[in-house]
């Protein structure tokens, strides 16, 4: 799709960015000490910290990724909402208070509080850096996706802009400014998502139809059309599907899908990838805007050409269940050296869309294990994410850590309810850009008004800013306290700790910019699933066992982190999804049977910790004594 920037969008967006930068400058003077820079002095009120938690957590994955996945696949996208929230129960019931009690700057402090081991600090520091980078990639991809429709800039420029602004935020004021950016953004995101859901329900459901061409005769040799103004030029068969290239009297070429049951040709959207590298969208250049937004119902409760008017939330879902939703599938054909990607209509019953199975097929044991593995990663990953864990050190005591987690659960839970309506609203209300599944929520807003689109996009952009700045603070904390701090005999001065932290934030930010550009077309929620899996495998077994198993040893913790980290990454890097979407090795079978590592790597990490701890009992006990 080609996106035209609007003046409104540009004004609102840059006002927002300017405000965020002002907050950073405001806090810069107050973040001179290491304690101030990394934990905002432990003085953040629990309500503010709770909403900031929501701001941290409701990242590009939640807002852009989940809404997009629901819009494209229905209920399967909502599984992420369920899993992401469930993870907070681990954080609240198991991790929040003990971690606050035992730690100071990073979660490695808590892990190491019993052992005083350099190895634990280094392993946890490396793990924090790797998980942060995995989590940074989707945030950057989301930022690039947003800037294109908002400002008309290319994806890479969007990623660079986010990188630059975030590095400024972190390098000037660290955790204090990050917290208030998160607070502001979390609150605005929830408020404006409510507004958008209200608009969706107020408009209700309505049907829409795409163009069709009547077929005069369809023999095995050729299709002829009833309207003589159209001429059939080519036909391509892909499995059971027949696609037809048609030329109109004005010389315009288009691609249609043959519906044998109805005796019609149905409109498609298509991208022609020319041999010389150029791309045509529906036969024209991107700027001609012929590649339109899609998403509609063909009937509501069996009645075509109708609408419901304003509708309640349950009635909204109930009506979708009894209607027919047009989803879009993809086929690829070759034509004289050009590759044509054809998006064709796939009418699906609403009941199917509201059930699991559209994104994650549950037909084979392998697919079932993949699904269980994903849900396991989401459940155990939250309480192991570095940028979430460091937020426990920004409040004054364990009770405040607990209360801020509860504020987070209430606000995040409420937001995830909204994702259901934002996603389905996009799916049936023309909010889909078939080339980018991350744009469903902003495009839904665009269907109502440019001003709302601009506000929602600016908030979504701030979402990315906030989450990325939290991750950079976590990364720089890991570098200074866990990696450098543990290797130096002499403690670094406060000023030096802050300076090195700022340099670390700039370097990690730079890496994130490069990766954000490389991973351009992947769904951000899917990518975040990987970050959760790595965090759950590397960090959570160590955290839980240190808290609840007295026989845990330093070597057990180190081994658990390394095994969890390495096994999760190996499975991800050798999975079919990575082969197809990252290495672009289509048709090559990957060595790993599953895409999501948690079902293997989490138990493996626990097991390693138990075995190594049991084997090193006496040695470590002697050391502790």
């Amino acid at each position: 799709m080609n996106y035209q920037p609007s003046v409104w969008a540009i004004i609102i967006f840059f006002s927002f960015v300017a405000f965020v930068l002002l907050i950073s400058r405001f806090y810069a003077k107050r973040s001179q000490s290491a304690k101030g820079f990394y934990t905002a002095g432990g003085s953040v009120p629990w309500v503010v910290n709770g909403i900031a938690f929501a701001g941290d957590y409701l990242s590009a994955a939640s807002f852009l990724g989940i809404c997009g996945m629901i819009a494209f696949y229905g209920f399967d996208g909502f599984l992420y909402s369920i899993g992401y929230l469930a993870g907070w129960m681990v954080a609240l019931f198991v991790v929040a208070e003990p971690l606050k009690r035992m730690g100071k700057y990073t979660f490695a402090d808590a892990l190491d509080s019993r052992f005083k081991s350099k190895g634990i600090k280094i392993a946890a520091g490396i793990s924090t850096l790797i998980v942060s980078v995995f989590y940074l990639i989707p945030q950057m991809v989301g930022a690039g996706s947003l800037v294109t429709p908002l400002l008309g800039w290319p994806h890479w420029l969007g990623v660079m802009l986010v990188g630059a602004v975030v590095i400024f935020i972190v390098a000037t004021a660290g955790m204090a400014s990050t917290t208030y950016v998160q607070f502001l953004k979390g609150a605005l995101l929830i408020i404006f998502s409510c507004v958008l859901v209200f608009l969706v329900l107020n408009k209700g459901l309505f049907t829409d139809e795409y163009k069709t061409l009547e077929v005069d005769s369809a023999s095995p040799e050729a299709i002829t059309l009833a309207d003589p103004a159209y001429t059939v030029e080519k036909e391509w068969t892909v499995g059971d599907l027949l696609f037809v290239a048609v030329r109109f009297a004005d010389n315009e070429q288009s691609v249609w899908a043959y519906n044998a049951q109805k005796g019609l040709l149905e409109e498609t959207l298509f991208i022609t990838h020319k041999a010389d590298g150029t791309e045509l969208f529906n036969g024209a250049s991107k700027e001609d805007n012929k590649f339109f937004q899609v998403g509609n119902l063909t009937d509501i409760r069996g009645v075509p050409d109708t609408q419901t008017g304003a509708i309640g939330p349950f009635a909204f879902l109930g009506a979708i269940k009894e209607s027919t939703v047009v989803r879009w599938d993809k086929a690829i054909v070759m034509d004289d050296g050009d590759k044509i990607t054809i998006y064709y209509q796939h009418p699906t019953s609403g009941a199917e869309v509201l059930q699991p199975g559209q994104k994650f097929p549950l037909d084979t044991l392998k697919n079932k294990l993949n699904f269980i593995s994903l849900m396991l990663a989401l459940f155990f990953g939250t309480a192991a994410l570095p940028h979430i864990l460091i937020r426990y050190y920004t409040v004054k005591n364990p009770a405040a850590a607990r209360k801020s987690t509860i504020i987070a659960i209430v606000s995040i839970g409420f937001f995830y309810l909204l994702t259901l309506f934002l996603g389905f609203g996009s799916m049936i209300g023309g909010g889909l850009d078939l080339t980018n599944s991350n744009m469903a929520a902003p495009l839904l807003a665009k269907n109502f008004s440019i001003a709302i689109f601009a506000i929602i996009s600016a908030i979504a952009f701030a979402t990315v800013l906030g989450t990325v700045s939290g991750l950079l603070v976590a990364s720089s904390g890991a570098v200074v306290h866990d990696l450098i701090g543990s290797s130096k005999q002499k403690k670094l001065s406060d000023k030096m700790e802050v300076s090195i932290g700022k340099i670390a934030a700039i370097v990690v930010g730079g890496i994130a910019i490069v990766l954000g550009i490389l991973f351009k077309n992947m769904n951000v929620s899917f990518l975040v699933g990987w970050a959760f899996a790595v965090a759950a495998s590397a960090n959570l077994p160590a955290i839980i066992m240190v808290l609840f198993w007295k026989r845990t040893t330093a070597k057990g913790v180190i081994a658990s982190i390394i095994v969890g980290l390495v096994s999760a990454m190996v499975i991800i890097l050798l999975s079919q999804s990575t082969y197809n979407d990252v290495y672009h090795l289509v048709g090559v079978t990957a060595p790993m049977p599953i895409d999501n590592p948690a079902i293997i790597s989490v138990p493996l990490s626990f097991l390693t910790l138990v075995i190594v701890s049991l084997l090193t009992q006496k040695k470590d006990a002697a050391q502790e004594a």
């Binding site: 806090y27 101030g36 209920f75 129960m89 699991p356 004054k396 609840f548």
Partner: protein, 112 residues
Amino acid sequence: MYFFRTNQIEKVGFFMQHENVTEDKKDFAAPYKAKLGLWMFLVYTIVYAGFIVITAFSPETMGLDIGSINLAIFYGLFLIGFAVILALVYNFLCARCEKRMNVEEEEEEAAK
């Protein structure tokens, strides 16, 4: 604006200056809260596991009608609502215990 006010923070308008205000007081309610947390975690995990098992091994069951919606949506919404309710109950019980045990222990120590 009670929630935004603490004794240790010097306010600058809505925002506040950041000094080291972390408390290191002993929490006598900690063992009770840890035990309660583990039990509530277990309860939620069982309900969450039920959702995963039904979805993975009997996805068609998730299509069963529950009022105007289906079991998949109902169970998903229930998991979100249940999480919020459990969190509030946990906080209530923890706060009650903190109030009782910490005050009692402090009074006992003061009496000694």
